[in-house]
């Protein structure tokens, strides 16, 4: 949607600059005048929330790195030093730690929005795949960040997760030692995780730039799933959606601030306030809440399939649960984007959401009794939704009639 700029340099300096580097023209086109569907609802504001959260994490993270020591003898104490001694350290560390949770909450809302409104469908496949790449990078960054305080959960989380790679046949152990820089998780591991934890947010920022670029080629989707047909369907991004986004950011910051000020540790695990000890394992190793659904799927595979061991099978399922999102645009063949016009899709979609929350719950429970069976059922539904339900629905479902245009849909609604 390039070329919708009505930027006219008003003075000679701007004109001179515009002819050499059209930065202001670019900003006006993409940050201000960009035509956005007039009917996008609040679920579309989470992209902006995520952009703000990335900035919050980078700013607080850079500050924390000024006071943190990535050495196994000092890491745990240096985090306590930040929380107790550094001016406002308690707030900055709390913001960073709680920020990770808020970031993931926002990304899940953003992704489930995409799943409901078919945001992954043509011509937005690359946009969607870049989003999945960002999600993977976020998980890697969060995991490595959680290791840095060098508490018991840090250490044993790192041990269990790096151990996953040992499931790879033949080259598993060399890869494991390569990742850890030793035979067990130790000082070299902590050092490289710190280095990569600092690097990855900037990689994320770069992929976000591509994500927004890919968004600005076809423009935003919208709740009807009908493409923009005329200028009557759109409003300029600024001020209409900048203000709407800012409003949501303010609302989003209220629970964020509550966590930071009143319960900075409530989302974490008490065992992480015990310094890492390679000789004592905590009774229950659990990842942070936002990784629990994937942990549940990893553990659900406790049986061998032909030559694939249970351990390797679990790893394949866990990574597969995210990789499958990348091929989703080709699994869901329905021509209708928005779930609002798909009567059969809707119940399966909401069941998928509940199933995801169930997996999150199961990931936090011990691997015993009823939880084991439920984990298997929930994992089966997770994959069945993508591999069976969506392809079949595309063939048998009769969608409701679509509005002729976005503006028509808006007018009909206001009758």
């Amino acid at each position: 949607m390039a070329g919708n700029s009505n930027y006219n340099p008003t003075n000679k300096v701007e004109k001179w600059f515009d002819e050499r580097l059209p930065l202001l023209r670019f900003s006006k086109e993409h940050l201000m005048d960009f035509p956005s569907p007039r009917n996008i609802n609040y679920w579309w504001t989470f992209g902006a929330v995520l952009a703000i959260m990335l900035i919050v994490q980078i700013v607080t993270g850079i500050i924390l790195a000024m006071h943190y020591t990535p050495n196994i003898a000092m890491a745990f104490d240096s985090v306590e030093h930040i929380r107790r001694d550094v001016n406002y350290g308690r707030i900055i560390q709390g913001t960073h730690a709680v920020g990770a949770s808020m970031f993931f909450f926002a990304v899940y809302v953003h992704m489930f929005r995409g799943l409901y409104y078919g945001s992954y469908k043509a011509p937005r496949e690359i946009l969607w795949i870049l989003g999945v790449v960002i999600f993977l990078l976020m998980m890697a960054t969060a995991f490595m960040g959680y290791v840095l305080p060098w508490g018991q959960m840090s250490f044993w989380g790192a041990t269990v997760i790096t151990n996953l790679f040992s499931a790879i046949p033949i080259i598993g152990t060399p890869i494991l030692e390569f990742l850890r820089g030793g035979f067990a998780v130790d000082n070299p591991t902590l050092n490289r995780f710190f280095s990569l934890h600092y690097l990855l947010p900037f990689v994320i920022a770069a992929v976000v730039a591509l994500h927004i670029w890919a968004l600005h080629v076809p423009g935003n989707g919208n709740p009807t799933g009908v493409e923009v047909k005329s200028s009557a369907d759109t409003l300029p991004f600024h001020p209409y959606f900048t203000m709407k986004d800012l409003f949501v950011v303010v609302v989003f910051f209220i629970p964020f601030a509550w966590f930071v000020f009143f319960a900075p540790d409530i989302l974490g695990h008490a065992d992480n306030y015990i310094e890492a000890n390679p000789f004592v394992t905590p009774a229950h190793i659990v990842p942070e809440w936002y990784l629990l659904p994937f942990y549940a799927m990893l553990r659900a595979i406790d049986f061998d399939v032909f030559f694939i061991s249970a351990k390797l099978g679990g790893v394949i399922i866990m990574f597969g649960s995210i990789i499958i999102l990348m091929v989703l645009p080709w699994l869901d063949g329905s021509k209708v984007r928005s779930g609002s016009f798909r009567p059969m899709f809707k119940p399966f979609y909401w069941l998928f959401v509940l199933n995801f929350l169930l997996l999150m719950y199961l990931g936090g429970q011990g691997a015993e009794g009823i939880y084991v069976i439920l984990s298997k059922v929930a994992t089966a539904y997770y994959f069945g939704y993508f591999l069976v339900i969506l392809p079949i629905l595309a063939r048998i479902e009769t969608p409701k009639p679509l509005p002729s245009s976005i503006s028509q849909a808006v007018l009909d609604k206001n009758k």
């Binding site: 044993w156 041990t159 269990v160 151990n163 030692e177 390569f178 990742l179 850890r180 820089g181 030793g182 035979f183 067990a184 998780v185 130790d186 070299p188 490289r192 390679p278 000789f279 004592v280 394992t281 009774a283 229950h284 190793i285 406790d302 061991s309 249970a310 351990k311 011990g366 691997a367 015993e368």
Partner: protein, 179 residues
């Protein structure tokens, strides 16, 4: 070479290919150190073997040594524990191994194993007096409930393998070299 209609290799093509090949090999050679630095370094490898003195370990006692950053369990087994381990039928084992394969002949009382559960790498309980030893009088992993017997063999639970035996040798009757 747009004017050359014949499919014929020229000196220029040869130079082009060899230059490209040199650049590729040189590039790979330059990248390798950047990758290999991630592997265990000299100081880590230097600690890859330790000597453990067993003389102070009484019969029935267990001691944990640190080897390669990992716990190594050494148990001085009692005759009854050895008999118990020997009496087990191989058909009852998930990862079948007779007791004789778990120890060094002539030193049956000494069981030396890496103290990490073969499931997801937790440290099993059973080293200290009073700790839960599981249903088979050996070790019990609290993470996901794997039970190991008095020869460190997996008997019950999700772990796929017996506790791993590190490479070790007896330097004397009471001194071992692990690694």
């Amino acid at each position: 070479m747009a004017t050359n209609t014949k499919e014929e290799s020229t000196r220029r093509d040869f130079l082009f290919v060899t230059t490209g090949a040199f650049a590729a090999v040189g590039g790979a050679a330059a990248v390798w150190p950047l990758i290999d630095q991630m592997n265990p370094d000299a100081s880590v490898k230097a600690l890859a073997s330790i000597e453990a003195d067993l003389s102070a370990i009484e019969e029935g006692q267990s001691v944990t040594f640190k080897w390669r950053g990992q716990p190594v369990f050494v148990r001085h087994r009692t005759p009854s524990e050895i008999e118990e381990a020997k009496a087990v039928s191989l058909d009852d084992l998930k990862d079948p191994a007779p007791d004789s394969e778990r120890v060094i002949a002539g030193h049956e009382q000494w069981l030396v194993m890496v103290g990490l559960c073969t499931h997801l790498g937790c440290v099993p309980l059973g080293q200290k007096p009073g700790e839960e030893k599981g249903d088979f009088n050996g070790w019990f992993c609290p993470c996901h409930g794997s039970h190991y017997d008095s020869a460190g063999r997996i008997r019950k639970g999700p772990a796929p393998k017996n506790l791993v035996l590190p490479p070790f040798e007896f330097l004397s009757d009471t001194l071992i070299k692990i690694g």
